[in-house]
């Protein structure tokens, strides 16, 4: 292993983008196969290629991370294309996360789309969106930030509306698109104002110009930063651009909901972390830390209270994902310059754990949709006696999302709240802890329905979808393994986060 690890820093510089390239090329390959053989009767081939592509991306990101590519030990981040892209530890950390979620979603979709005619399009859209997310994590310029954000968003709109004869899916796609188009134009206008004030789009140059003071244009820069924050609020489903999330997640095909609420949200945070920490100094005419404190508190409270009142499991998960966006925002809300790397890293680690447990939870909903058991808590009654393995996995996801001690979600929340306390924001941690306690109420409703309630009527579950089961079990295993394996995750996250703090 050692000789292989050593070789990573002898490769040409552009190969640092390999995790993103692997995703993009696999997407293109799928389109090519579809155009040669449009009525393919071999769905396993398409799913297999998509899975291999995303696993290759995961492997490359993992290899680079362990070999130290772009990290402090080997000379710092690798800048490409005139500094517009930078591959450092943080980019690779998030690329590994996106590739894992993509692999889970692709595997699970194999059964979910069992008689759908346009599988190749589905897989290539998922991979193109993942490519956009991988580039979002590496963006070092506001121009790349906008383009990568659109590359991730445009396929997502099509994916949400993918079931084109299903009114719910189309309605969800329309609402997601409308809010997305609005927020991306707000984002673009914000970028144009930041450019107006600083004369550059490269984040380090923007930082230098803003900390040097922009005479007469401070207000313009402040409004620009506010509008850029609005663009991120959409991508991460935070207040005030959160209201698309319940509709889009409920109407979309469940694997797509899993993809959007885990990978897409993490991508929004990856970009927000880098843009705000690297690009906007704390005194740039607007106190953006205060802005994120307000957003974090409002987002987590609103998400958790709304989740507690839902009757449908998928909609509850959608609101809970808004709540988790609030927790992850603590990474920016408790940021305080030099020592802010720790809480930022804790937020990244939380997003990684969340990626597995939340994807798993939505994939269980996909399984329930595949069986046609219904959408409400009551419909899930007694499922444990028919599908014990999947129900155990779902219980793991629920308890981990709530942050109970024996699961991965506990450690990530613990480090996040401790990081906030260390940074002097004990009240942020207190609000987070109260919200976590509240969340246990609605997560345990699912577990209670699965295990304790008796089924209302008699019905048979049809086939056992192997691939969907495999994805759910793998996500559950990852959620449990992140308990003993959390130490390296948090160490990596905090060390790579510290290096981006200027």
């Amino acid at each position: 292993m050692e000789p292989l690890l050593m070789q990573a820093d002898q490769l040409p510089q552009w190969t640092a983008l390999a995790p993103a390239l692997a995703l993009g090329l696999t997407g293109l390959l799928l389109i090519l196969i579809d155009s040669v053989d449009p009525d393919s009767s071999r769905p396993a081939l398409l799913a297999g290629i998509a899975t291999v592509g995303s696993l290759a991306s995961l492997g490359l990101a993992g290899w680079f991370l362990s070999a130290g590519t772009g990290q402090a030990g080997t000379g710092g981040g690798i800048s490409l294309f005139g500094d517009a892209l930078v591959v450092d530890g943080m980019a690779l950390f998030f690329q590994a996360l996106f590739a894992s979620v993509t692999a889970l979603v692709v595997v699970a979709s194999y059964d979910y789309l069992h008689d759908h005619p346009h599988r190749a399009e589905f897989y290539s859209l998922v991979l193109f969106a993942a490519t956009g997310m991988a580039l979002m994590a590496a963006a070092n310029s506001l121009a790349v930030a906008f383009i990568a954000l659109e590359l991730a968003s445009l396929p997502s709109y099509a994916l949400v509306a993918f079931l084109k004869r299903d009114a719910g899916s189309v309605e969800a796609g329309l609402k997601y698109f409308l809010i997305g188009a609005l927020s991306s134009s707000v984002f673009a206008f914000g970028i144009s104002l930041v450019y107006a004030a600083t004369g550059s789009l490269l984040l380090p140059d923007v930082y230098a110009a803003l900390s040097g003071g922009v005479e007469g244009l401070t207000g313009v820069a402040a409004v620009g930063i506010l509008m850029v924050a609005g663009g991120f609020a959409f991508k991460t489903a935070s207040v005030p651009f959160h209201f698309w999330a319940p509709e889009a997640y409920e109407g979309a095909p469940a694997p797509v909901s899993a993809f959007l609420s885990s990978a897409s949200k993490a991508a929004g945070f990856a970009l927000a972390f880098r843009v705000f920490v690297v690009g906007f100094p704390l005194d740039a005419g607007i106190d953006w830390v205060l802005l994120f404190q307000v957003l974090a508190v409002v987002t987590m409270t609103l998400g958790n209270f709304a989740a507690a009142t839902q009757e449908e499991v998928k909609r509850m998960l959608a609101y809970s994902s808004i709540g988790h966006a609030g927790y992850a925002l603590i990474g920016l809300a408790a940021f305080s310059g030099g020592a802010g790397g720790d809480v930022l890293g804790a937020s990244m680690a939380h997003l990684l754990v969340y990626g597995f447990m939340n994807t798993g939870a939505f994939l269980f909903v996909a399984l329930a949709e595949h069986w046609g058991v219904g959408r409400t808590f009551d419909d899930y009654a007694g499922l444990a006696s028919r599908a014990p393995m999947a129900s155990v996995a779902m219980s793991v996801f629920m308890f981990s999302l709530a942050g109970l001690p024996p699961f991965g979600g506990f450690f990530s929340k613990y480090f996040l709240f401790m990081g906030a306390i260390d940074a002097g924001f004990w009240w942020l941690a207190a609000v987070g802890a109260i919200n976590s306690a509240l969340s246990l109420f609605y997560y345990s409703r699912v577990v209670k329905a699965l295990w304790l309630n008796d089924a209302v009527g008699e019905f048979e579950l049809g086939s056992t979808p192997t691939a969907l089961y495999a994805a759910i079990v793998f996500a559950a295993v990852a959620t449990v393994l992140l308990l003993p394996g959390f130490a390296p995750v948090i160490e990596t996250a905090q060390s790579v986060a510290t290096t981006i703090v200027p």
Partner: protein, 100 residues
């Protein structure tokens, strides 16, 4: 040379017209046009300040913005088409099978 604050005012005005159209129109196609106005407001800023700062970064990014706006419209028209097939209407307030 026209002072830069006039460009900022023009861009802000175009942006606000876009926001106004977005909030008042119920036709999905008019919604798309409003979004185009907002994106082009950003382009006005980018091009004007590209000249002000003496670099071409803003102009280049303006080209990218136009291409992305076109791509966004392409996806949007596709979604509006399936919306029409499912609801026989392109009024954005008609599609309410789920609670908003």
């Amino acid at each position: 040379m026209v002072p830069p604050q006039y460009y900022l005012l023009l861009a802000a005005a175009v942006f606000c017209i876009g926001v106004f159209g977005l909030l008042t129109r119920r036709n999905a196609l008019l919604f798309l046009m409003s979004v185009e106005l907002m994106l082009n407001a950003a382009n006005i800023n980018l091009v004007a300040f590209s000249y002000y700062w003496g670099n071409v970064t803003g102009q280049t990014f303006g080209l990218f913005t136009m291409a992305l706006a076109a791509a966004e419209v392409a996806i949007g028209i596709g979604i509006i088409l399936v919306l029409y097939r499912n609801f026989h209407e392109i009024d954005v307030t008609e599609a309410t099978t789920m609670r908003w």
